[in-house]
Structures are given as structure tokens and as C-alpha cells.
Amino acid sequence: MEAFTVLEAIVAPLDRPNVDTDAIIPKQFLKTIERQGLGKHLFDAWRYLEQDGKQVDNPEFILNQPIYADARILLARENFGCGSSREHAPWALADYGFRAIIAPSFADIFANNCVQNGILLIRLSADEVDHLFHEVAANPGYRLRIDLPAQEVQTMGDNRYSFPMDPGHKHKLLNGLDDIQLTLQHEGAIRAYEAARRQSAPWLFRDAV
């Protein structure tokens, strides 16, 4: 997993609340058995139109505006990523090129899945997010600098917004770590727990019932 430290990039605004994972990546793209290649289907239903049986870019959709072609930061509203647990949603966002999402709140499972894929989720207050939406609208090519070690979003005018962060998630993102290897360092503790449970609750083990 790619480590995340500091990112300075263009911000794309997606101004709607409750953006669900069906909207991020519709079900027809969940049939893949790969992790890669989903970026072209990100926000598929909003991003493309059917014209004479062909798929064309929807000029109304924000990511289709040339000014956001290099956006790496997504600005969103509350409850972003609600709905299904499909990790295809962060896979699609990451494959498209988004490394960070700023919103007042994120759905729990989506948030977990983002950490697994090196996407930084930044929770700012609804007022701060609202202010950033105004800034993006008023300043074409608006950029932000995100400093994960300092847990700060910095504007080019040097306004700073600090954001909260789970220390474990921060450590993982900063170092691009794979969980399984870390967990297996605790193999002894897992085996000991399991042995005790076999005694106290044998019905949890199918070979014991």
C-alpha cells in the first residue's frame, strides 16, 4: 500500500449529501475478480450519458470538467460512502486517483475500507466544509495541502484546519502497512484465546459439536 504523508492537489467538489457506495461504483462493476481498473467506472451513472447507444461524458458532471482532471482531493458532504460494504468503492476512488476525501462525516464501513487502501478521510465541521465549497467555487483550480503528520489541511492562503485521526489509522497510512503481517505477530495470543474459548464455549467450534 502506498504511504501517505503530504499531498498538495486540486480539489474537486461533489456537492450532495449521503453519496452512497452504489453511486460511487454501481453493481454491474462488482463482478470483477480483480482489485484494479475500477477508476473508469467511478460515479458511472452520474459521469456518463447514453447517446446513440454509445457512452459519452456527461458535461454536467463535475469530474468531467477539464479543470478537475488532475484533482486528487474530493470535497464532499455528510455521510459520504453510506450503504454497501463493497471495497470496490475505495478501489474505484483510488484507481481514479483520489488520495483524500474531505467531508463532515463518513459511513463507518466505508471509512474502514479507505484506510485499507491508502485513502485519507478528513473530517471537518459542516461549516468548514461549507466554506471550502465556496472557496472552490470562487477560485478555479483551487488547491489544498494536506499534512497528515501534522493532521492539518492548509489553504494556499495559509489558513489551517486541523482534523481528528485514529492513531492506529494514521500509523498505517503514514507507513503504508499491511495488517495481516502485523496481526500474525500476535499468533500466540490468538491461539491462547482460542484454546480458552474451546473450553468455555465449545459450541463455537464446529468440530467440537
Binding site: D15, R16, P17, N18, D20, D22, A23, P26, K27, Q28, L30, K31, T32, I33, E34, R35, A45, R77, E78, N79, C82, G83, S84, S85, R86, E87, P90, S105, A107, D108, I109, N112, N113, Q116, N117, A126, D166, P167, G168, H171, D179, I180, T183, L184, H186, A189, I190, Y193, E194, R197, A201, P202, W203, L204, F205, R206, D207, A208, V209
Partner: protein
């Protein structure tokens, strides 16, 4: 010291260790696998040369992609077929038990695990599917995870987690006739909002919850995620124990007695404290119909569609306006005036036997409206289907002009051939009315099975409490 919540008890009994920063390594008793969110997890294991930690903790079935017609003919769509074949191969390679597509026990993963006794009280249950919350109905801690975490559980039997806050939803009184667990949970979501439960584990409690069957409790817990909560749960009582007795994978004999004694502790203590509490009165709950593109956009059947212009919060106002445009609906229209193109009775929310009984009781002796193109009944499992057929429910549906299908997720998310065409409007017993959920451009209204059956016959929404059963 205050007593413990059910969530406290479930959480504490699964802590393997706690890191200095507060992260907990949580032991997972049961993992359910299906074809959509597992292939990349198995590839990850294979790439790292890892084995499954504890094979017997896992159970697999194909449900999202499977056809609901002519099962023996196989899967026509090559990408769907590849996913199902991949699951078969992965289960064979890693030694994991699978209920394959032609197994009579196959069905929606959240229907079959409780049905088989594979979900037991006191367990931690995970699945790469957000509706895993369903299993909390049996007094388990159950939640959805992503594919990387599926791989992590396969490899380590654990997950890194942090404890959520606790929220109790207390429902007093008694549900009225024709009002179901589905209406209860939609009313709860209407009150809490779809983000109201974010960061919380929900316990559903109170006399109206205790009065529900395990099937009804599953409907309730299933949609905890639609209120933003990863897990929903109900304390164990005699109804839970009766449900589990004799299930194929439930313990027997001395171990059963030992288990029942332990399970009887699985409820919140009388003096337990919750971080938040919401109260509803069951008698105030009427049959519910969603009108928008989020489950919180819901109202009772007698209501009219709200007017975004009356909403003071600008973000919400825009959300409602976008939703009504997508749904092609006008503010102030009575919900009973909404006409349907299709009706779907199924999904992990409402495809258990009592759901089919409720729908059949409404459909019996009536005819589907000519304006409704398809009314589809998709049982939750092969065993639910067999039970329904033994009771003659299939005949009732077919005589009423409904289609009787094979089990699977079907038109809840339209990964198989069952879907809405652009612009079609559907009364659905499923759990999500998101844009395009049931097919690109499709419009979904969430309702109970009885309300869906009544809408199929009338051609528009009606109050099922006024229905004259034949």
C-alpha cells in the same frame, strides 16, 4: 458500577488483546463468504502463500449473482458465472464448506446462516456485506466488512477494531394489525436519519421488539446499517432459544444445555447505561413507504410527499429536490397515488417464511393489476422455498399472477438478470432505494411484504390495514 449492555458483553468476550493506542484485536467466530466480495481476498491469501486460519469458522454460498429462473441451465452472463465459479474453486482449494448453487440449502447468506444454526448467540459474525447486521437478531455481534478485512479474517481469525458507542432503540407497546417489523425499522430510520447511527452499535429492545419473531428481529437488525450503524442486535430470550433448537449446525445434548445457560446471560443488564437512546411507540407506527433515494426519505402510507421548499436546512432541501427529480415525483402527492411498474418481494430484509406468508395472505384470491408488468417473489433460501411450497404459498402467488422464483439476492441489487429498466418504478421489500440500486434509472419504494403484495394487486400503494383478505 453500572451494569453491562449486550454489546459490552459481546465485545468483551472477544477481545484477544488491546494495544496501547486502544486498538483491539477482536476474535471472529464466524465468517460468511459470498462470490462478490471474496475473490480478491482469496487471491491475496494465495499471493502471500497463506492458509485459512480456522476453516470451520467459515461458510460460503453464492447469492448475489445467481439466476432466479431455471437454475439447472447455469449462469448465462459470463462475468457472473466467473465470479460464482471462482467461489467454488476458492472454497475447494482452501477447504471451506460451501452451499453451491444447486444445493437445496443455498440462499441469501443472511437467510441461510441463521436457518442452519450457523449463527449462534454470543458469536461475532462478519461477512463482506453490510447487511451482516441481520445476525444480531440472535444476540450476536454481527457487522459488515470490506474485502481486505475478509482476507484478514481468513488469515488471522481476527480483526482490528475500536468499540462503538451504544445506542438503544426502545419500542413500547404493540404493533397494530398489518404493521410489521419492516414498518418499525423504516419508522426508526425516518426518525434517526441514515447517519443517525453512525459510530454506534444499536440494540433494539422494548415490548414491541420482544414480541417479534426471530424473523421479524432479523428484518429490524438487517436495516441497522440503513440508520448508519454497522451492527444491530436483540437480546436473547425464549423466542431465540426456541428458534435455534434442532437447527442442523446448532449444538446438541450436553453442549446445547451448556450453551443455553450461557446464552441466557446475553441481554443488557437492567442498570446498563447507553450512550444514547431513542424511544418510539409501536401503536404510532403505520405502514411505511419511502418516497426518495435514501431510506430516511420515508413516510406513512396516508401521508403526502413532503415539499422541499418547506425544509429549512439547505443541504437537506437540495437532497430532497434531487431525490424527487430522480424519482419523477411531485411534492404534496399522496403516497397512495403512486403507481408501480414492478413489484419485488425478496431480499435479506424480507424473504423469510413469515414474509412470504404475509404477502400470500394479501395476494390470496386476488389478481395482479394489469398495469404491473411483473410481481416477483424470490424466497430467501432453498429451504424457505420448499417450506412455502409445502404450505401452498407458491400456488397462491402464481394464481394471483405473481412469479415464483429460485432463491438469491435478485432484484434487491440487480446483479443478476432481475432488474428495473430506466424509469421503471418498483415497490420493493428490500433495504435500499438508492439511485440505480435495482437497475440504472430504476425507482425504488421500500415497503413491507404485505404492502408490496397489496400494491401489486391495486397497481398503486394502498394501506394494507384496509385490505379485505379473501
Amino acid at each position: 458500577m453500572a451494569g453491562k449492555t449486550l454489546y459490552d458483553k459481546l465485545w468483551e468476550s472477544h477481545v484477544v488483546l488491546t494495544e496501547a493506542d486502544g486498538a483491539v484485536l477482536l476474535y471472529i467466530d464466524r465468517q460468511l463468504l459470498h462470490e462478490v466480495t471474496s475473490p480478491q481476498a482469496f487471491s491475496g491469501l494465495r499471493a502471500a502463500g497463506r492458509k485459512a486460519w480456522r476453516i470451520d469458522a467459515n461458510i460460503a454460498t453464492a447469492d448475489h449473482n445467481v439466476p432466479t429462473t431455471d437454475r439447472a441451465a447455469g449462469i448465462v452472463d459470463p462475468t457472473s458465472r466467473l465470479q460464482v465459479d471462482t467461489l467454488d474453486q476458492n472454497c475447494a482449494e482452501f477447504g471451506i464448506e460451501e452451499f453451491g448453487m444447486l444445493d437445496p440449502r443455498q440462499g441469501i447468506v443472511h437467510v441461510i446462516a441463521p436457518e442452519q444454526g450457523l449463527t449462534l448467540p454470543g458469536m461475532t459474525v462478519v461477512c463482506g456485506d453490510s447487511h451482516t447486521a441481520t445476525h444480531g437478531a440472535l444476540g450476536a455481534l454481527a457487522f459488515g466488512i470490506g474485502t481486505t478485512e475478509v482476507e484478514h479474517v481468513l488469515a488471522t481469525q481476527c480483526l482490528w477494531a475500536r468499540k462503538s458507542k451504544s445506542l438503544r432503540v426502545w419500542v413500547d407497546g404493540e404493533l397494530g394489525r398489518g404493521v410489521t417489523a419492516k414498518d418499525m425499522v423504516l419508522a426508526i430510520i425516518g426518525k434517526m436519519g441514515t447517519a443517525g447511527g453512525t459510530g454506534y452499535a444499536i440494540e433494539f429492545a422494548g415490548p414491541a421488539v420482544q414480541a417479534l419473531s426471530v424473523e421479524g428481529r432479523m428484518t429490524l437488525c438487517n436495516m441497522a446499517i440503513e440508520a448508519g450503524a454497522r451492527s444491530g442486535m436483540v437480546g436473547v430470550d425464549a423466542i431465540t432459544i426456541d428458534y435455534l433448537r434442532g437447527r442442523p449446525y446448532a449444538p446438541v445434548g450436553r453442549i446445547w444445555d451448556q450453551a443455553v445457560a450461557a446464552w441466557s446471560e446475553l441481554h443488557s443488564d437492567a442498570d446498563a447505561r447507553f450512550d444514547a437512546e431513542i424511544r418510539l411507540h409501536a401503536a404510532d407506527i403505520a405502514p411505511q413507504v419511502t418516497w426518495g433515494t435514501s431510506p430516511e426519505m420515508v413516510a406513512e402510507i396516508s401521508a403526502t410527499i413532503p415539499d422541499p421548499a418547506q425544509e429549512a436546512d439547505m443541504v437537506r432541501r437540495k437532497g430532497w429536490t434531487d431525490a424527487l427529480a430522480y424519482m419523477d415525483l411531485q411534492a404534496n402527492t399522496p403516497l397512495s397515488a403512486i403507481t408501480l411498474d414492478k413489484v419485488f418481494i425478496g431480499s435479506c430484509t424480507n424473504a423469510r417464511i413469515e414474509d412470504l406468508r404475509a404477502a400470500a395472505a394479501v395476494a390470496k384470491g386476488h389478481q395482479k393489476a394489469a398495469s404491473v408488468k411483473v410481481a416477483m417473489v424470490v424466497p430467501g433460501s432453498g429451504l424457505v422455498k420448499a417450506q412455502a411450497e409445502a404450505e401452498g404459498l407458491d400456488k397462491i402467488f402464481k394464481e394471483a399472477g405473481f412469479e415464483w422464483r429460485e432463491p438469491g439476492c435478485s432484484m434487491c441489487l440487480a446483479m443478476n438478470a432481475d432488474r428495473l429498466e430506466p424509469g421503471e418504478r418498483c415497490a420493493s421489500t428490500s433495504n435500499r432505494n438508492f439511485e440505480g440500486r435495482q437497475g440504472a434509472g430504476g425507482r425504488t419504494h421500500l415497503v413491507s411484504p404485505a404492502m408490496a403484495a397489496a400494491a401489486a394487486i391495486a397497481g398503486h400503494f394502498v394501506d394494507v390495514r384496509d385490505w379485505s383478505a379473501k
